[in-house]
Assembly symmetry: C2
Homo-oligomer: 119 residues x 2
Amino acid sequence: MSPREPRSTCPIAYALDVVGDRWTLLLIRDIAVFQRHTYKEFEQAGERIPTNILADRLKKLLNHGILAKTLYQEHPKRYRYELTEKGLALRPIMRAMVSWSAQYGDDVVVPKELDTADN
Amino acid sequence: MSPREPRSTCPIAYALDVVGDRWTLLLIRDIAVFQRHTYKEFEQAGERIPTNILADRLKKLLNHGILAKTLYQEHPKRYRYELTEKGLALRPIMRAMVSWSAQYGDDVVVPKELDTADN
């Protein structure tokens, strides 16, 4: 993992310190768009996130107040992850990515759940 | 570096394969907003990008058609980097990051060049 202290006061640098990696916004997408909420559901997403990265990113997003978790099973402990207001507010970043990739990406398919025309 | 082959047809995954790291969008910002165009100018930006990462990202962005370079000095060879149309089209992603960070980031200062109210 990269160091986490702020590199500058730049707002783009802040966003990248928090969500600037290849996986974090896919997790946010899974929760916001595809109704995935558990560790197992995240692991089963199409991109096959490695389990050590998944555990790291969930912890980081909880620390940043982007996710909140609730215990839904005691033995063994199982958590359900939800986006906070700060997490839901990341949706315009994802929508801008969808628009850009739809226009310029090869082999990109925009699923109806991500179709920005509806958002 | 992470592997670069597409992980899925998801447009968010595509965008993250191309710009999903801690540095790439800072380079795009430097060119689009702060009129930095040379290797030396990129190195001098506030976040102090490591030189090996800078060289890697410039190469990657040229390969993806996000940057174009022109030779402006022969001995030694020096290049000037500009955003292509595909690169300029990343601006809405950066604007969405600025809005999000301005609202939720600690210690974030939005410079006037990045003030989304003007864009």
